[in-house]
Symmetry: C2
Subunit: 451 residues, 2 copies
């Protein structure tokens, strides 16, 4: 029996973990600098919390957990519709994203929370998607949200966070922005206010499938040829962000909601300009993002120097907590995709060399007697917070060297009878081959200074 | 609809997260100091990896994940044995501990690993146990293991790690130690070598249920009255660790395995003594630990000043990877129970005050014009890595104060028209009530110094 793991899942080796932790630590440090606090929710949520929140397609992608014990009790096991049967034998599911559990948390704990509530959450999510390159069934999201305020300062803050995170990581990015209210204005203006969702779903694919295919989908979704015709110039708007805003204002300005959206984006641009935020930003009227709970600003971030989908995205939702019984609690948030960011950093070789915090020294192991002296020195180093090890067996020196090499341990320390007699350690630098002597009493100082 | 989470699971609020992270960070720092490297495995494992590894009882406690899509295809849905049916409609389960996934990892990746392999792993595990006080269905384990060596230096290292972790946390503990080989020696000596498992399972409960109940259980498990009689003096051994070792050696010394166990424990005691490790250690011959894969040393750690079950435990397993096809790869490890340690630190009020890394300053929000100036100063503080916020809305000052108070933000900064004219901020210390003026240009310095 050859052991394996479920498809679409991954083990993370020590080397990968160090790199992933570099990303998580960077993101976390920025989040904290902006006053966001950590939150964690359980991997399992009640299916009633998750179902119906991600569209029909999303429901199918939920991992469901079989009820424990006699799960068939009370279930109609001859039910042939497996979707229906599933909800009879499963009460729980694995979380699909961090936003819905967050909304559930806010409602459940509303009496303990001081609003506005700024939280970040870094946890895995699970989706029964077909695994493929860059798409996993278990992956980490890093979400940052603030709920309980409609202030556009929050949108600006998220833009600053995007700038900070990617500047810290050394990745050049640009940010696309749009506003759902503008999209509504467009839908109303072309006479399809009721088809707003269909329009957003279709034009969101513009980048991927091109204008022809988008138009075809719009037709299939019930838009008239005339409406599609009227949509074309909007999708083709060009110029600076300000120019685009002026043009779209002329087209949809008679729609109040649309005008509000334009105002919101303008205000954000104003503040961003005043603050000299240098992140490249583009108003993209085809940016829609699939999720239906967005009601205001929407964001998407792409890497400039590496070909991959968006590496971050989010937006404002005015009523996400409404489905759980707490209406009128607006929020805005953005999610960083750890796996894609990992791929970008790998592809561009941007991981710092010292993202792996290595053991500094390995004591070679000769025999029991010398070992005891090594153990005492080892204890002293560790007490001074210097990471060190001893090879556990008196194996061939070659083997001990290979071990140090594979773990990237830069120094090997030899404590033989001579060293014990003179109370002086022999230290070999694995990388340079240099060898030297250091008095036992100076060992801590040596490693405090040497790199 | 009032939202809730599955029973036995928990949300962790920002305050709880900070405390939990204090524990994880402490444990992680110690693990690294001893040369252990991080590893993570997927939440889901194939059921074939998990089933049969935790006994019959454990199999029932596995959370099973319903196959996606048409799960009933190929399954006999009229199967009345729900255990059998479950394995037909579920291929995957949530991990039950970190040890079995680690063993699976080692076998699967054996060609990439340099042995001895020292890893730590801090991740949640899931068990469909009946929830009760202090027992959860989702909880975190912090495991540290080394595989690929039989060296007793590893046992000593784990003892040092226990000492270091709890010294760092400020918790006084004592460590119980025993050895499965001694337990085998006892079983053989009383004529029940074949009943070794029954004996360990029963005497492991000595602490909880007392000697009478243990003897009753031994009888039920098929031990003769004579055997139970011969066991009594062993369970009642008293004296120092060395005295106990001498006594047990007299009783079981004719059994080779038993003698080997005594030797191992003696060696560990010798080294611990030589190294002046001050952790109180007790040889406890009734310590057995339930898990059947242990073959050598077994450990258990208890808090001295707080009444709770063991807060850490582990042991040596000579053939855990054998079940996955890699025999003769001995390992030893120990697991720290984050939730119980949390309870101990809470109960003894040992969490440091500053375990919460707070926002340092909140800019009050008056009106749009002043806000822009605040935003610029805020940006400057954050660029200097000083965590700061602005209240997003121009709400009543009382509300903004309450917000700062509830988040433990110590300073409120006021930027009004006068402050802008004089380029001087007014800063109020929330705790002392003191109020002062700081020039815009000195703000960074002010927060770099002030605590």
């Amino acid at each position: 029996m050859k052991p394996s793991i479920p498809k679409g899942t991954r083990d993370f080796s020590p080397a990968e973990m160090s790199r992933r932790n570099y990303i998580f630590d960077t993101v976390r440090t920025v989040f904290r600098r902006y006053g966001y606090e950590p939150l964690e929710t359980p991997a399992m949520e009640n299916l009633s919390t998750l179902m119906g929140k991600y569209g029909e397609e999303g429901d199918k992608l939920l991992f469901k957990i079989l009820n424990s014990g006699d799960f068939s009790k009370g279930a109609n096991m001859s039910e042939e519709n497996t979707n229906k049967l599933a909800t009879q034998i499963c009460e729980k599911g694995l979380r699909y994203d961090l936003t819905v559990p967050f909304a559930r948390y806010v409602v459940q704990h509303q009496s303990e929370i001081t609003f506005p509530f700024k939280r970040y959450q870094i946890q895995p999510v699970w989706r029964a998607d077909r695994p493929q390159k860059g798409r996993y069934r278990e992956f980490y999201q890093c979400d940052v949200d603030v709920v309980g305020t409609k202030s556009l300062l929050c949108e600006v803050e998220l833009i600053q966070i995007v700038q900070d995170v990617f500047a810290s990581l050394g990745v050049r990015v640009h940010l696309k922005i749009n506003n759902r209210k503008i999209l509504y204005g467009i839908a109303e203006t072309i006479g399809c206010a009721d088809k707003m969702i269909d329009i957003t779903v279709a034009i969101d694919k513009l980048d991927k499938i091109g204008i022809e295919a988008v138009n075809k989908e719009l037709l299939e979704r019930g838009l008239t040829k005339e409406a599609i015709e009227r949509l074309q110039p909007i999708l083709k708007l060009e110029g600076t962000n300000r120019e685009k805003l002026a043009q779209i204002c002329e087209i949809i300005g008679s729609c109040e909601t649309g005008r509000k959206g334009i105002e919101e984006v303008s205000t954000i641009f104003d503040i961003v300009e005043e603050l000299n935020i240098t992140l490249p930003m583009e108003l993209d009227l085809s940016l829609a993002r699939g999720l239906n709970y967005y009601t205001g600003a929407i964001f998407e971030v792409k890497a400039l120097d590496y070909q991959i989908g968006s590496i971050s995205g989010g937006g404002r939702y005015d009523d996400l907590t409404g489905i759980f019984g707490l209406p009128n609690t607006s929020g805005v948030g953005i999610s960083f995709g750890a796996d894609r960011i990992y791929d970008v950093l790998s592809g561009l070789e941007l991981f710092p060399q010292d993202s792996v915090q290595n053991t500094r020294a390995l004591f070679a192991n000769f025999s029991e007697k010398e070992t005891l002296e090594s153990l005492k020195l080892l204890k002293m180093l560790r007490e001074n917070n210097i990471a060190a090890e001893i090879y556990p067996d008196a194996a061939k020196l070659k083997k001990q060297f290979d071990y140090a090499q594979s773990k990237g341990i830069p120094h090997i320390i030899f404590i033989g009878s001579e060293e014990i007699a003179t109370r002086t350690a022999t230290i070999k630098n694995i990388n340079t081959g240099e060898q030297g002597k250091v008095a036992f009493d100076d060992l801590v100082k040596y490693f405090d200074i040497s790199k």
